[in-house]
Symmetry: none
Subunit: 273 residues, 3 copies
């Protein structure tokens, strides 16, 4: 009993300390019931190894931007930029990537919050806000046919698949091949690993079974996210999106690990023979 | 008592009859508790005037595609196509529009369901599935600068706003101006009114306050959706997305009606003077 | 260090034991990272005092039905019925109440799962499935005018408000007054407290600011849910819907507690004078 109390006490302390480190400001005072959850998440999730604090931010930002809890979104955007874990370029690409995978309306609020917190950080430091990077020129081709060809290749590369969807379908052609894979995934400014973390979090809360499966698979198969990192992603995601979605994601991860291990074994055997 | 039985009985009958008309197949048998809601939705929501059954389908398809209840999505896609209320071109554009406003992962499932139900309807009728319309040529310009100029104008037109966001921000430039307004909203195949109905439903369940406000405003201000139609949209939306989001949307509608009436009055006065 | 290790070790044991008690079956084997979250939720959330296991089920069922993790929904419906914590009548009313507050499509799946698990439990016990309760007669009036009058009074009672919305608006009249408050909330078979728990969970994940505020307020003001129970509700909700929504709900609870305490003080002073 005593042991448990002490452990819980120390967890609360560890939780508050981890909160300050992650959030770059002190936790709010006052004992409300969800403090138990808050302590757990900061003391025992954010502080875990394998996935860095910076990597955990991509997962968390996606979950918080989806959840409509505006104050938490403000806090996490501020913390990610104020800590220096994310550059403003990375943050802005995160917003665009999130828009595609979680819907433009929620991304619209996310974008506004980024602008406000970027201003606030410069105000707090007495610095002028630097001018944004110019949008043009894009790195992707302009010709519609060339865009589709490039988008088709990018679709195969990102999804680790030998085929791509038929272009003569507005969702697939005008949307997926032309814009999502023909432009968005190819933009510089955000690493492939970061895009994977955001994407898996977004398909996780969007719940459509096939995209969860295919993006977990591709993140593992591409080796952009290791098996151990993916498990940590699931825990971070579960804390911010809730146990049911975390459990489902975790189950898909287990299955896709098996599939990837099997494929790697077959590929190794083929190389040897 | 007698009265109750008759009136309720008749609602249940009307509900089942309306179900068959809307869904193009008979309702499942059996008295479960939610039958009360099912009867209500079909007898007293779908059958209401002002917003046509076809118009109600756009709202309902968006809500059902968001809700992850796959069987209902299958049923409503089938019903919309089987009844002839929506053409396959309109349905495919609905999927793309939904993808932008509700997220690509959910739209991915929607897209698969459309393909399957389109096949099923042709199988049931003993007809071959016609070839899809070719994606190219697009009606929008290829040059990035021209696309941004066109997207900026389209943003102002669709949102009934005199200004557009700065392009030098990936979400705004590469996303909103280049693709969402520079291409997606400009595609043929779906009427402006249908796009409004889908958009308002999507911003309604996405919950970000500003997009709800701006899309309700623009739908009314543009006169693409009348005040009475918007009220019916809120009821149809509330039945399919739940009371809390319906209540919030309804409140925004009330406020934006006031704003639009005021602006129309000012504009009329300016024209007279 | 030693202490922490022991406490964590025992938490995992306590978590697995609580899982078995709550779920009526053993937890799945295997050490995945989200096990940490699973252990925490079962060892330190479900086992807490103030809110009974039965009460926690209403909150959890709503969250799980919303989350689209179908296996978890199956498990929790099974557990709630198999443990005897909820009767089948209560469960079916929960589905109807959920349908109104979370949307018909998700409730449709919930309803199917309830039927299947009810069948399964009877199959496992070698018992026939009893016939369902007949829907008719309803306890509410049939005459539309009487229904609106009754719905208006019920709206005021449930929401602890002195006024009700205008009936001449489809969403408010045909939706809110006629059906939701004129019929659904008045149905027997589910206690007011259970309806409050489900409603607060649903408005919590639906995120629309006004309904969260008004239902938290009414649950506290009516004394159907005590202050301490509401805090526990927020924790249970946070575990199943994620930290951001839990934090937001928690914040609204804090504000509404203040408002209710203030109103009770004013009312007590008015009675004394």
């Amino acid at each position: 009993m005593q042991t448990t109390d002490t452990a819980t006490g120390s967890r609360s302390e560890r939780g508050r300390q981890a909160f300050t480190e992650v959030m770059t400001f002190d936790p709010p005072p006052g004992p409300a019931a969800p403090d138990s959850l808050l302590d757990y998440v900061f003391a025992e999730v954010w502080t875990r190894p394998v996935l860095s604090r910076r990597d955990r931010r991509f997962v968390t930002l996606a979950c918080v931007a989806d959840s409509d809890a505006e104050q938490l979104l403000i806090d996490h955007v501020y913390a990610a930029l104020n800590s220096g874990d994310l550059s403003i370029v990375e943050m802005r690409e995160t917003v665009l990537h999130f828009a595609v995978y979680a819907g433009w309306p929620k991304a619209s609020r996310f974008n506004i919050v980024v602008d406000q917190q970027w201003d606030r950080i410069h105000r707090e430091r007495g610095l002028p806000v630097p001018a944004p990077e110019p949008l043009l020129p894009l790195v992707t081709p302009s010709d519609p046919e060339e865009r589709l060809v490039r988008g088709t290749q990018s679709f195969k590369d990102v999804n680790c698949m030998p085929f791509a969807p038929d272009r003569n379908n507005p969702y697939q052609g005008a949307g997926i091949l032309n814009f999502v894979f023909g432009e968005m995934w190819l933009r510089p400014g955000l690493s492939m690993k970061a895009r994977r973390l955001i994407t898996v979090a977004c398909v996780g809360f969007q719940d459509a079974p096939l995209p969860i499966l295919s993006h977990v698979y591709a993140a593992l198969k591409s080796r952009d996210v290791s098996f151990e990192e993916m498990d940590e992603l699931a825990l971070q995601f579960g804390a911010y999106c809730g146990l049911p979605k975390g459990t489902y994601l975790s189950q898909v991860i287990r299955e896709q690990k098996g599939r990837v291990v099997h494929e790697w074994r077959v590929e190794a055997e083929q190389e040897q023979s």
